[in-house]
Every structure is written in structure tokens, then in C-alpha cells.
């Protein structure tokens, strides 16, 4: 029997323009610079088959190529080479409720969403009541979707999404939504599909649910399949990979940005000359304490008169998870420079660092106010380590408070109140 999905030597590369050139004026004035691209290889050489009836999970860190793979499978993107073939009917929900319109009633949205799946109005008409019953939304049939809570919208969207009979079901991160009882229902549906011998591809960050439901998991990293096998094994490999990666990154990272660093890209109308981290005593360091001050000092050189521009920073974990970020525009701070050759010095200070022990990476960027031209982007621009103290677990210091109330006659010593 033919496998439901055949993927063979799939490659995909994105060319990211350094500045968006979608106006004619830009094309005409910058026609020579059309080669300013940055290549991003999303999929290197992916091959795999999915036999009928398999429940396949796909996992991997952010930017590993999961979504690109799924989009090629669903014919949204075109592969550069190789092919992805689906033998049979399939439904794809890269997001629930795609095509829904908030201005329409729930009933009309069922017809619209159903049509997106290939179902006709006549077929849906007999089914509408059943959909509302399943979504537990019987009383809201004639309400406009915009008046629904997000949980209600998700329930409706999921109920519509499973309406079409398919050989293959493709889902991207759809489990992260909905309340617990409805999630239960979603998983019941998956279990039923599994019993019925349907093939399912599930992409998720949630390794626990992958482990619970999938027969097989593919682990993607930097556009390659690095593990393929039973869920438990691959999940273990994933945990190992994250840990190793974090260690390696921490070891190899430069403590601060050096000019001409390969991690930098952009049109360089404004260029980061340095980015360094400073502690409460004004010393450049890589070691900080939770709750203490931290200042990011950025020195920039202006090459072209750009007027007002935006300078931003973000902190991420070694595996790519973005923790926090902001920019001058969001914080209503004006940064401008009018004379080429001038230097701009910008500091961003956090009085009380909310991060707990671990290694972190700082990225910086400068772009125009509309965000269409990136002047300079450096990632990693700097890295730092937060010292282990206090024993709180996780990544964030919550600055929480405990409150304990006790009857006076309870013997003392049972609990003591502590302030966070």
C-alpha cells in the first residue's frame, strides 16, 4: 500500500530582502541593489514517508523548519527541490478558524469555514445543529463571532475543522488552545481518528502530548531531521539536544559585539559599533544577579542621514526562546540622527533584573520607524550569565508575596510567613 505522505529530498531556502522593496519608487531608485538578500535555509534535505494510520508528531526548537515543512506539505509554499506528496484527501489547520469572519454570525461562519474545507452549503445545512451541539454553543448560533470569547471561537473553529472526511489531518500547534474540558474532547476526537485508521500529523511544542498520542516523532533541527522514532526516544533526544545546545552556545559566545561580526546583518545605514553590558557599579561584566541592575550600552555609527529611527533590544535563551524585548518606538523615546559620521550612544537600563540563574543572549537592532528597512541587526550581540541565588526555579523572578493566615490558638511553628 502506498504511504499517505511521501516526502523526498525536500529543500527550501528563503531569500529575505534586507529592505522591503515593494514600491515602484524604491525599485526604480534602488534597482542596482536588488541583490541585497540574506539567505535562510529552512529545510536542508528532508525525506520521510508516513504509512496509513500513523499518528506522527513533529517537534523541534523555534525556527527548525517545522512550519515550513507543514506549509510545503499543504501546498502553501513551493519547495525549491524535492517533493512532498499527499495521496488522498487532506485537511490542514495551520491555525484554527482561518477564513472565519468576526462580523458574521456563528452559523454563517460554519458555512464559510466549511466551504474552505470543500464542503457545500447543502451538506452543511443538515450538520449545523450537530456542530453547535458538539461545540456546546447551541444558544449562540445567531450571535456574531466577534462577540464570542476566545474559548468559544476556538470551540467553534475546531468543530468546523473536523467536519470534512479526510485521509490525512495536519495540525500545527492546535492543542495549545481551549479550556481543559474541550481539550479533552479534542483528544477524544484524535483517539477516534486513530481507531478509525486515519493518518495524523501533529506539530507541537508540547512534548508530553506528543509522547501520549504519537506513534512516531520526527525531531527537526536547523532544517534537518535529527531523530526519527518512537515518541519516548525522540523526546529524550530533544531534551538532550536543548541542554547540549545551551551549553555549547554559552561556551562559544563572544561576551560583546565586535565590529564586523558575522552575526550582524542589515543595510548598515546605522551600524552598531559595540554592545556591552554594565552592572550597578558601572563595570562591564557578564555576570549579573537576579533583582540587580543591568544596563545595555550600545554605540552606533551613522552612515546615512536617516532622520528618526528605532533602536530595539531583546533577550532570548540559548535555544531561541524569546524572553523579553522592547524598542524606543514602543517606549515613546525619540532617537534621531541627521549627520553621517555621527555617533549615537543609547543605554537601556533595567533596575531589577527579573531573570533567574542561567545563560542569556542579547540581540539588538536598529531600523526605520515603519520597520521596513533594517539598518543593523546583531544576534547575538552580547551574552550574560545570571548567578544562582535564592533557589527559585524556572526562568523568571515573580516578585510574589505569600500570605498565610492562621488562627491564633494554632501552635506556632507550623508555617512562617515569608515575603518574596
Amino acid at each position: 500500500m502506498k504511504p499517505v505522505v511521501e516526502v523526498s529530498h525536500l529543500r527550501k531556502r528563503f531569500r529575505l530582502p534586507l529592505d522591503k522593496s515593494s514600491t515602484l519608487k524604491y525599485r526604480m531608485t534602488h534597482w542596482r541593489s536588488s541583490s541585497r538578500y540574506r539567505d535562510l535555509i529552512a529545510l536542508r534535505d528532508i525525506s520521510f514517508d508516513i504509512p496509513t494510520g500513523q499518528f506522527l508528531g513533529i517537534a523541534g526548537p523555534n525556527g527548525c523548519g517545522k512550519s515550513t515543512l507543514l506549509k510545503i506539505l499543504c501546498r502553501i509554499y513551493k519547495a525549491d527541490s524535492g517533493y512532498a506528496r499527499v495521496n488522498g484527501e487532506f485537511s490542514a489547520f495551520l491555525e484554527l478558524g482561518v477564513g472565519f469572519n468576526p462580523e458574521l454570525t456563528a452559523r454563517d461562519n460554519i458555512f464559510l469555514g466549511g466551504a474552505m474545507l470543500g464542503l457545500t452549503r447543502a451538506q452543511l445545512r443538515d450538520k449545523v445543529d450537530e456542530v453547535f451541539a458538539f461545540a456546546e454553543l447551541e444558544e449562540f448560533a445567531e450571535q456574531k463571532l466577534k462577540n464570542f470569547s476566545s474559548g468559544m471561537q476556538v470551540r467553534l473553529a475546531f468543530s468546523v475543522a473536523i467536519l470534512a472526511e479526510t485521509d490525512l489531518l495536519v495540525m500545527d500547534e492546535v492543542l495549545a488552545v481551549g479550556d481543559a474540558s474541550f481539550q479533552e474532547k479534542c483528544f477524544d476526537t484524535f483517539s477516534r481518528y486513530k481507531r478509525e485508521g486515519k493518518t495524523i500529523v501533529l506539530v507541537s511544542h508540547d512534548l508530553n502530548s506528543l509522547e501520549e498520542y504519537c506513534d512516531r516523532v520526527l525531531l527537526l533541527n536547523q532544517g534537518e531531521i535529527i531523530a526519527d522514532g518512537p515518541a519516548a526516544e525522540v523526546t529524550a533526544a530533544y531534551h538532550r539536544m536543548v541542554a547540549e545546545h545551551a551549553l555549547a552556545v554559552e561556551r562559544d559566545l563572544p561576551s560583546k559585539l565586535e565590529r564586523g561580526d558575522p552575526s550582524q546583518w542589515g543595510s548598515r545605514a546605522v551600524e552598531f559599533v559595540s554592545a556591552s553590558l554594565i552592572d550597578g557599579q558601572g563595570q562591564t561584566t557578564r555576570r549579573f544577579d537576579t533583582g540587580g541592575p543591568i544596563t545595555l550600552d550600545m554605540q552606533m555609527l551613522v552612515h546615512r542621514d536617516v532622520g528618526d529611527f528605532v533602536c530595539g533590544m531583546a533577550i532570548r535563551r540559548a535555544d531561541g526562546l524569546l524572553l523579553a524585548g522592547t524598542n524606543t518606538f514602543l517606549d515613546h523615546v525619540t532617537v534621531s540622527s541627521h549627520s553621517p559620521g555621527a555617533t549615537v550612544s543609547i543605554r537601556y537600563t533595567v533596575d531589577s533584573l527579573p531573570l533567574l540563574a542561567g545563560g542569556y543572549i542579547v540581540q539588538v537592532s536598529a531600523h526605520d520607524v515603519t520597520g521596513s528597512e533594517i539598518y543593523d541587526h546583531a544576534d547575538p550581540a552580547a551574552s550574560f550569565h545570571v548567578n544562582n541565588m535564592g533557589g527559585h526555579v524556572g526562568m523568571l523572578e515573580m516578585h510574589g508575596r505569600w500570605q498565610v493566615e492562621q488562627e491564633q490558638d494554632v501552635p506556632t511553628g507550623a508555617f512562617r510567613q515569608t515575603a518574596g
Binding site: 515602484l24 482561518v98 451541539a133
Partner: protein
């Protein structure tokens, strides 16, 4: 014993229609009905607005060109000619203007769902066509009842000219919607082109006016499909024996605008087809 209200536990799936064409047609229908509905929900007069707009344009143009500038003097029943032209023109501009955004404005759909992309253009044209069809039927019935249309056997050609208009609009819509994804200046350029076409297509004056000015210019202006469609619609609908057709005005050259309409459709189709794979990444 109390019964706790609970939703049903399972939801059976429906078999899709086997014919892909039927599915696509159904999606076009749903999308165009939706945008037609959304256009008029929330406003008190709703659909009436899409009739008021061409009527207002007609009123102004009639006042300025026919009464003040006497552009239609000598032409047979020019007000009715003007009305027929304005209703067709309104369809042309509204359809092409909304089509411009049919792909670019649906980035979310394109990035997250698969369906043939031409459906978006077909739906946008269909929704403009719905308004146009109702307006045309209303105008034809009212003017006919008032004794202003001299319908005859030739009038049966009218649907063909309307078809030519739709083919032209579809071609332009595919072209504009695909190119607009990559060149956002096109929106402004098209506004200017529309303005030129409005005055260049003999809408607010009879086509013969160009001919009395210069035969050569008339031969050139007659190659414009909109001028040809409007002149021929006036010919077949308003008074076949009193208003000349484009063929009577510029001779065999009158085949060229028809060829252009079909050519634009083919060009639009090819360009749209070529650019389709790049939509999802560009949006």
C-alpha cells in the same frame, strides 16, 4: 435526578463532493456572498447605497456635461445613454479596485490555508457582479417602462457585450491583484489610469463627438475596450437604429477592442498563474 446539559461527544465527518470544480465553485459562492453581505451590513440603507452612488454620478455628469456643456446635444436620448454607461462603468471601477486587494488583503488566508488562489479574484469579481446585475436589471426595467429603450432582436446581443466586460474585468483583476502583492504603487497608478479611462471612454459624451473632432483620434479611441463596450451597449439597448455601433463608427477596427479584452484575460491569467507560488512568501 438532574440532567447536566452537555454537548454531544462526537461529530461525524462529511464526505466532500468528489468534483474539485464543484468545491471551488462553492467556495467562490460563499466568499462572494460573504463580502456582498459584509459590504451592506451595519449601514441603514444597505444595498440602496450601491444604487445611489451611480445615480449620483449620473446626476452630476448629466448636469455638467449634458446641460451645462451640452455634450450630448443631437445624440438620441443622451440621458439614458449616459445612465447605461455609468452603471457599466461603476462596475468596472469597483470591481477592479476591490480586486486589487483580493490577494494582498487576504494574506492570512493565503499563508495559512490551501485553496486555488484564483478563487479570491473570482469571488471579488462575483461580489461586484452581484451589485452590477441588480443595478442593470433595475435600470433596464425602469427605462424600458418609461419608454426609453427601443429593444429589438439586436438587443439580444447585450449579454454578449456584458460578457465581454466581465472577461475584461476578470483579466484586469487577475493582473492587478497579482502585481499589487509585489508593487504597492499599483493602487495609485490604477486610480490615475481609471480617471483617464473614464474621460477617454466616451462615457459622458457620445463617441461620435470624438469623430467630429478627428477621425484618426476616433479610430484610436475606439480600440479601447471600454469605449467599444459602452458604445455597443448603447447601440443594442437604447436604440439600435439611431445610435451607431462601434463597427459602424470605426469599421473592422472594432474587432481589435474585443481581441484586447480576450488578450487582457489571457495575460492576466498567465501573470496570475506565474506569480501564485510566490504569494504566500511575499505576504
Amino acid at each position: 435526578m438532574t440532567v447536566v446539559a452537555q454537548g454531544s461527544g462526537t461529530l461525524g465527518a462529511i464526505q466532500r463532493p468528489r468534483s474539485v470544480f464543484q468545491r471551488n465553485l462553492n467556495l467562490v459562492r460563499e466568499l462572494s456572498i460573504t463580502s456582498f453581505k459584509l459590504k451592506y451590513t451595519g449601514s441603514a440603507l444597505g444595498y440602496v447605497w450601491s444604487l445611489v452612488k451611480p445615480l449620483m454620478l449620473f446626476g452630476i455628469m448629466y448636469l455638467v456635461f449634458s446641460i451645462l456643456l451640452k455634450a450630448g446635444t443631437g445624440a438620441y436620448d443622451f440621458p439614458v445613454q449616459l445612465l447605461v454607461a455609468i452603471v457599466a462603468w461603476t462596475f468596472f471601477t469597483e470591481a477592479t479596485a476591490t480586486a486589487m486587494n483580493a490577494v494582498a488583503g487576504n494574506g492570512d488566508l493565503i499563508r495559512k490555508a490551501y485553496f486555488p488562489r484564483w478563487i479570491l479574484v473570482a469571488a471579488s469579481t462575483t461580489s461586484a457582479l452581484l451589485t452590477f446585475a441588480i443595478n442593470t436589471v433595475l435600470v433596464v426595467i425602469v427605462t424600458f417602462a418609461l419608454g426609453h429603450l427601443e429593444l429589438s432582436w439586436v438587443s439580444l446581443l447585450a449579454p454578449l457585450y456584458y460578457l465581454e466586460l466581465i472577461v475584461l474585468v476578470l483579466g484586469l483583476s487577475m493582473l492587478l491583484s497579482a502585481l499589487f502583492v509585489f508593487f504597492r504603487d499599483l493602487g495609485h497608478i490604477w486610480e490615475i489610469v481609471s480617471l483617464v479611462l473614464f474621460y477617454g471612454s466616451a462615457i459622458v459624451f457620445p463617441f461620435e463627438l470624438i469623430q467630429t473632432h478627428s477621425i484618426k483620434l476616433a479610430d484610436l479611441a475606439g480600440l479601447n475596450p471600454i469605449a467599444q463596450i459602452i458604445t455597443d451597449l448603447r447601440h443594442v439597448l437604447v436604440a439600435p437604429d439611431k445610435i451607431p455601433s462601434m463597427a459602424a463608427l470605426i469599421g473592422p477596427l472594432a474587432y481589435i477592442p474585443i481581441a484586447i479584452s480576450i488578450g487582457v484575460f489571457i495575460l492576466g491569467f498567465i501573470v496570475f498563474h506565474k506569480l501564485t507560488p510566490r504569494f504566500a512568501e511575499a505576504l
